[in-house]
């Protein structure tokens, strides 16, 4: 079974964000091409360098955001993970899960809360930065209602009511 990694509201805002990035990226590339075709002095070259830098930055972020839209929560009788375009990227077996908890991933303007499944018990410091954990951890912004019951049955450790209230949508 696969589910969206974003809620409906999340998909909408993400799509708007991608649209803004795409338009900005196209305009920045146009500026860079225009600038490259109209070099007449040293100042043009310096300004072009900054324009190219910005254009590449915007395009690469747009690419990663589009890629992130393709990610889906993937769960079956063996475990839970993330699939992108049909390929499993992260997967943890139910039997390996030692902790279900809530932590944070850093964002440019603070942090976002996540529910995670981990093959060991994390300390408080590790919970504040789930993104860079190198061992077997999967984290989600929400758990889909449709599969919550089944996940609860298969999990070797319980998901608290508080977690369910906050993360099951």
């Amino acid at each position: 079974m696969t589910f969206r990694t974003y809620t409906k509201k999340g998909v909408f805002f993400h799509a708007v964000y991608i649209a803004i990035l795409t338009v900005s990226g196209i305009l920045a590339v146009y500026s860079a091409v225009f600038g490259a075709l109209h070099i007449s002095c040293k100042e043009d070259k310096i300004a072009l360098g900054f324009t190219v830098f910005f254009a590449l930055l915007i395009i690469s972020v747009d690419f990663f955001e589009c890629r992130a839209m393709g990610a889906r929560i993937y769960t079956n009788a063996e475990g839970i993970g993330v699939r992108r375009f049909g390929k499993t990227k992260v997967f943890i077996k139910w039997s390996e899960i030692k902790e279900v908890g809530t932590g944070n991933i850093p964002t440019p303007f603070g942090s976002k809360q996540r529910i995670y499944f981990c093959d060991r018990v994390l300390d408080e410091k590790e919970k504040s930065d789930l993104i860079i954990l190198k061992y077997h951890t999967v984290h989600f912004s929400y758990i889909p209602k449709e599969c919550c019951e089944k996940i609860s049955e298969l999990l070797p450790v319980p998901m608290t009511e508080e977690m369910k209230e906050k993360y099951v949508r």
Binding site: L27, S40, D44, T51, F54, S60, P108
Partner: protein, 370 residues
């Protein structure tokens, strides 16, 4: 216009305040410092917009202008860096690059970096804004006139007051005198809302010192309408010919056409109205760089200001949408277009990668040469 400007400045300040590390508001000392920094910065901007024109030259006026310059630079860099940080963060997150993520997630490090980069940026950019250089272009025209050559000095965008101080006006006079031009062209934006009576008088005296064979000609810019004091009487007293959608033929047979800032009337129409010879070499003086490609075949040389060159490193992003050319020399068919970086900046005193300049154009008339 005023509402838009104030809204833009308010947005810049608000976004910078949002970027301020939250923990800084928890500590009494840093909280007071942040409030004082923004209060003084915003006050300096408002003073420049609404009060500096009433002030006499002196330390207080200089402090206000330099404070505004620093505040403007820090807020602009904070905004630009926040965009870079945001994009960099997204990249680091996808690549799971621990070190970069750690650096970028620290708001304190980011904010201190914005201040440090602004301070470092200000070293060359203040020098570029306040130290004038002469930029020389040698061009050939396929037409002839009574002279074999013509030397033109172009000065534009003084923004006398918050832009060009009296020292920059003196440098401008020195550089123009050293170039010994045949004709001097002033390409608009000589004053703005910050210009005081004493600034206007100083500009008049500076222009009076300029001397050349065929005279001084002026075309208006977009900031003249904001000036508290009408610049035209000052220009007339300095013996400057004002060209508002009209043209004159110099004694050597070269046409000088000056366009209003709106660029509504075409050059052909102006030449027809003024009875100018369309076969003679024609120099068009217009403030903005808009519509230069349309001058192809109409003018031999178009001279512009307005852009201040690349006053900020990220101006290249706007290049295709606002301007045909930001700085330097470009050809539109047989028509030469030259854009000056201006004598000063508008409201603040930083400029990079461009440098404030006096543009000197040496024209050789090819038919005369043969």
């Amino acid at each position: 216009m005023w509402i838009l400007m104030i809204a833009a400045l308010a947005a810049m300040s608000a976004l910078t305040i949002l970027q301020t590390p939250r923990e800084w508001f928890g500590n009494r000392l840093t909280r007071v410092l942040v409030i004082v920094f923004h209060t003084i910065g915003i006050a300096s901007i408002l003073l420049i917009l609404f009060a500096v024109y009433r002030m006499k030259d002196g330390v207080l006026r200089e402090i206000i202008i330099w404070t505004e310059t620093f505040y403007f630079t820090v807020t602009a860099f904070a905004l630009l860096l926040s965009a870079v940080r945001y994009f960099g963060f997204e990249l680091a997150r996808h690549f799971k690059h621990r070190k970069i993520l750690k650096i970028l997630s620290s708001q304190t490090a980011f904010f201190l970096a914005a201040i440090l980069i602004s301070a470092v940026y200000m070293i060359p950019s203040v020098y570029n804004a306040t130290t004038l250089r002469t930029v020389t272009y040698d061009i050939q025209l396929e037409k002839s006139c009574a002279d074999d050559s013509l030397s033109i000095a172009v000065i534009s965008d003084f923004h006398v007051g918050a832009g060009a101080r009296h020292s920059e006006m003196d440098q401008m006079v020195q550089l123009v005198q050293a170039a010994k031009p045949d004709v001097i062209l002033i390409d608009g934006d000589i004053c703005d809302s910050s210009s005081s009576v004493s600034d206007m008088e100083y500009m008049e005296k500076a222009l009076e010192k300029l001397d050349c064979r065929y005279g001084i000609f002026y075309a208006e810019g977009n900031h003249e309408k904001e000036c508290r004091f009408d610049p035209e009487p000052y220009l007339r007293r300095a013996d400057v010919t004002i060209l508002k959608d009209c043209g004159v033929m110099l004694e050597n047979g070269v046409n000088i056409v000056g366009r209003r800032n709106a660029l509504k009337v075409g050059v052909k129409q102006i030449m027809k109205d003024c009875g100018l010879d369309t076969e003679a070499p024609t120099i068009v003086l217009q403030h903005r760089t808009k519509g230069l490609s349309r001058l192809e075949g109409v003018a031999d040389l178009a001279i512009c200001g307005h852009t201040h060159g690349y006053a900020f490193p990220f101006m290249g992003l706007l290049m295709p949408y606002q301007r045909d050319i930001s700085f330097g020399h470009r050809m539109y068919g047989e028509t030469h277009a030259i854009v000056s970086a201006g004598v000063a900046e508008w409201g603040y005193r930083t400029k990079w990668p461009s440098q404030s300049d006096v543009t000197v154009i040496n024209i050789i008339f090819r038919e005369a040469e043969q």
